[in-house]
Symmetry: C2
Subunit: 261 residues, 2 copies
């Protein structure tokens, strides 16, 4: 199957502009799974909860519609970030859609920095969506630093972990190799690039989107500052097999009677 | 405090030779904590359980005595691997000693490859030993690939994780950066180098011992094939603080109601 990421530099607050950019760079692209960055339509650096609320949406509104159209033109399942509104709460979330429906929503479990001032911590937990011969897990950006995120998805059977991101710290890309290795899963980090200087915050996003295989090989990666769609062809069944050698199975060898939670 | 590793190429089955090598390369060395490789006195590549049993020891025998002497001459707490014998069972274990006593023993929780044919899986779990202003955790070699090993030690308060190793796979050194980062702890991987070709097994050990700080910086590392004692000066209290920024504390931000064990 063909899996990929879409890396670009979203313009803060300009959903239509960002939709148009994504539409343009995915022209002619066909794939089975495509991952967009965290909050790809809105930008990241809010100054207040009200500002973030103004860009929030319910499931089924404009970002859902855009992703479904993109699913239709690319034939891919799409994963992309949005600000989810439920009653008077907002979440840093990601939609999983195909052309016909919303398959699921993940709400970021571990909020980073001032996100805590506007977003509710996700309360849907780590979910896995099952397709014909592969299973999808989703985590968002800062979730990577908690090994429990990828682990919880992998133990539920995720073969591919989609990882929409707006990374500002430099460690993640290298650590995603460890995440793939320790769980024997494919990971797709779709990161944005560019700068956002708003209020007291001045973020520089690190690009470098990356797809890593269950043996820890980086199959493809983007430069720090490039608008890019990259697609690789993988066999997701490789991730079903947790056997490392004749004697070791990474999941069966776990001895959770000794693990602290 | 001064912490370090001792990297060398043990001779299979020659305890006295290996003790002598370590004695020679640590001449004049003073430190607070020194870590030796996994099974540093015996070598690694056994052909049978009987062979491993013949090199096994109870606590308080020759490897304990050697480490206590080394503690006396270096003034350091010593961590080093040995084959522990308890009744008719043998374990791939590590001793923690000072010049006066055995402080503790760790038995490898996750056995690698044919180790499963001779050793019992450790049943002491992940333990932390408390000293005046720092806490020590120990894991052995392959334990690294299970994020739960470092996590379980760190959640119990380990500031420094001693990691005696006989690494044959190429991924560990890079992944120890992730282990330090995700737990905000110091890690000391003391790896052996050299080759052992015995029976059907032909192992090449990767050296590259390494000390990493809680921010993921490699403070010092050895080459692939060098006999080396490296010491760095650290402040262990840096690892007490799990705060990453004004809003994020790596341990308080854990949401274990969503974690799968």
């Amino acid at each position: 199957m063909k899996i990929g990421y879409i890396q670009f530099n979203p313009v803060f607050g300009e959903k239509e502009t960002n939709f148009h950019t994504v539409e343009k760079i995915t022209k002619g692209v066909k794939a089975d799974l495509l991952v967009l960055p965290e909050l790809f339509a809105t930008g990241y650096t809010f100054n207040s909860k009200i500002e973030a609320e103004q860009m929030s949406e319910k499931q089924g509104e404009e970002t859902t519609n855009f992703l479904q159209d993109l699913s239709s033109s690319t034939r891919a399942i799409l994963v992309g970030g949005f600000i989810e509104k439920i009653n008077n709460k907002i979440f840093n979330a990601a939609l999983v859609v195909n052309e016909k429906q919303v398959i699921g929503i993940y709400e970021k479990v571990h909020l980073f920095y001032k996100e805590k001032l506007w977003f509710e911590p996700g309360n849907r937990g780590f979910q896995v969506w099952k397709f014909q011969n592969w299973n999808l897990g989703v985590m968002i950006c800062f979730d990577w630093i908690f090994p429990e995120s990828c682990r919880s998805l992998s133990l539920q059977g995720a073969d591919i972990i989609a990882h929409p991101a707006n990374l500002v710290l430099p460690y993640c890309q290298r650590s995603m190799i460890t995440r793939s290795l320790e769980n024997r899963v494919f990971t797709i980090t779709a990161n944005r690039f560019g700068k956002e200087h708003r209020g007291q915050d001045n973020f520089s996003f690190s690009g470098g989107s990356q797809i890593t295989d269950p043996s820890g090989n980086v199959l493809i990666s983007a430069e720090k500052n490039e608008t890019k769609v990259d697609i690789v062809d993988i066999d997701p069944s490789v991730a079903h097999n947790k056997q490392m050698n004749e004697y070791n199975n990474l999941f069966k060898d776990r001895r959770n009677q000794y693990y602290f939670l």
